[in-house]
């Protein structure tokens, strides 16, 4: 019995230790911004632009496609069911609450995790294994500044931008589905605009910030935690991506509580 309790305690302590490490890591990444050198700012800006190109621009096609399909499916199915009970006006609630407020940010973040989170974790782990992180530290360069900060800023900007794109495409696609069921644009726009509030806008932006930071911080943390060698790289990528997905879902639930 005591062995079971001890095992549970050890596992809990390990998880708490990882959480503590992650919190320290995230704080270090935020604080790194204040230590950027003059020339470093320009280089970081260049890296940031590159990061946004890889993370946002190259994912925009996939996000557009998925947003269009998801919104079309949800609205065309919902409008049919709601039509039977004469409650088609409720599609505004469906598209705003289900698609724009919840599914949009979640799906966007998951797309970015699958494309860029894996890349960030693999790159960081490789940097660690190849001794490049030690080389940076030996030169007096803070790895947070050089490796983590541009990726974190890039992920935040990219996820927020992709969420806005997702929402815009979902609204257009939702209209197409509604139009196929005989709803005209003035009525559709009236229903959606009545349901949409300022809260939805700040929630989207806040989720962009939090999810974006998670997409960079968790994979970076697990990537840089690699010690033994190249065989640890795939494990670090898996750990980083799984942790990011869990964090995104938990923070999504927290947002629901806050918004309520």
């Amino acid at each position: 019995m005591t062995a079971v309790v001890a095992a549970i305690g050890r596992s809990g302590a390990r998880r708490l230790s990882v959480l503590g490490g992650l919190a320290r890591f995230a704080l270090g990444a935020f604080r790194a911004a204040g230590r950027l050198t003059r020339a470093g700012r320009w280089v970081t800006l260049r890296v940031l632009i590159n990061q946004i190109r890889f993370t946002a621009l190259q994912a925009s096609g996939l996000v557009t496609f998925l947003a269009a399909i998801l919104s079309f499916l949800v609205i065309s199915q919902t409008i049919r069911q709601l039509g039977r009970v004469g409650a088609t006006d409720l599609i505004g609630t469906v598209i705003v609450v289900a698609v724009i407020r919840e599914l949009g940010p979640l799906l966007t973040a998951l797309i970015v995790v699958s494309r860029s989170g894996t890349a960030i974790a693999a790159e960081m782990a490789t940097n660690r294994v190849m001794g490049e992180v030690t080389a940076l530290e030996a030169m007096g360069i803070d790895p947070y500044i050089y490796l983590v900060l541009p990726r974190m800023l890039g992920a935040v900007v990219s996820v927020a931008a992709l969420m806005i794109l997702f929402d815009a495409v979902a609204l257009i696609s939702g209209y197409l589905a509604a139009a196929l069921s005989g709803m005209h644009f003035p009525r559709y726009s009236n229903i959606v605009l009545t349901t949409l509030s300022a809260k939805d806008v700040w929630l989207t932006l806040a989720k962009g910030l939090v999810f974006g930071a998670a997409v960079a911080i968790f994979p970076s943390y697990h990537g840089l935690a690699v010690k033994a060698g190249p065989t640890e790289i795939p494990q670090a990528v898996t750990r980083g991506v799984v942790a990011t997905i869990v964090a995104i879902f938990i923070s999504s639930a927290i947002f629901v509580v806050i918004a309520a």
Binding site: T37, R38, A39, G40, W42, V43, N127, M130, G131, E132, T134, A135, L136, E137, A138, M139, G140, I141, D142, I145, Y146
Partner: protein, 248 residues
């Protein structure tokens, strides 16, 4: 009349780095360091002082512990016993961010070369100037151009480490080590895979500061090519955990 605007001091970062040590102290001192990670030989601890402007080479087999000296000198690891002082400061005892600042006074060439594989050789050389100094972009470019010429890297400047030969990688890594014009350079196995002529040429370049004065160089090697010995003031053979002086 308005008072003159206070100009921001230029090399702020370097000034902070200088604040940790003393210029009067020897650049590098190993004091009672145990090389063999066995604390049972207190009478055979490693002692070495690298004086300013001298080139000192420590030679030893792979299992002699000579390979640890570079990492200890940079504070990347701590020796199991004894202490390492850089410009009088106990480098192993400094907190992490102070250590990062302090290391800007020291050039370092790790085993292999430590070049970042996703950067060109030019960007690798520019790295410490961009992220560990307070230089403007134009000043960084000027210094990097000078280093690319000095280390004969102009032709391969835009290539990545995997695209060039070992000698060019070594040249780039050494150019990066002296990019901030440090008073002390620590080199780990810097001559591996180099011809004796290239090794001599590179050591000569590394041992001179931008103003032509000599800087302190501490190199750890397993074997020393004869041509390099001309530039070396002291050769230390590491045997049984202790330093034995050899004629250069």
């Amino acid at each position: 009349m308005n008072p003159p605007a206070v100009r921001r001091p230029r090399a702020t970062w370097l000034r902070q780095a200088m604040s940790f040590g003393s210029d009067a102290a020897p650049p590098l001192v190993f004091r009672d360091v145990d090389l063999r990670e066995r604390p049972d030989h207190p009478e055979q601890r490693f002692q070495l002082t690298v004086q300013a402007g001298t080139v000192v080479v420590a030679i030893g087999d792979e299992d002699s512990g000579v390979g640890d000296l570079g990492a200890w000198a940079l504070g990347l690891r701590r020796p199991p016993a004894g202490r390492v002082e850089v410009f009088g400061a106990p480098i192993g005892a400094l907190p992490y961010y102070d250590l990062l600042l302090f290391r800007r006074r020291i050039g370092y060439h790790p085993v292999g070369d430590g070049l970042l594989q996703n950067l060109s050789l030019r960007d690798n050389v520019a790295l410490p100037l961009r992220f560990a100094s307070d230089h403007r972009l134009a000043e960084v470019d000027e210094r990097v151009n000078q280093l690319m010429d000095d280390f004969r890297l102009r032709a391969v400047a835009t290539m990545r480490p995997a695209q060039v030969n070992e000698e060019d990688c070594r040249r780039a890594a050494l150019a990066r080590a002296v990019a901030l014009d440090p008073d002390l350079v620590v080199l780990e196995a810097p001559f591996d895979g180099l011809t004796s002529r290239a090794a001599q040429d590179l050591l000569d370049r590394v041992s001179r500061r931008a103003d032509g004065a000599r800087r302190a160089v501490f190199a750890t090697v397993q074997d020393l090519v004869p041509s390099v010995r001309k530039t070396v003031q002291r050769v230390i053979k590491v045997a049984d955990g202790a330093a034995v002086e050899e004629a250069p």
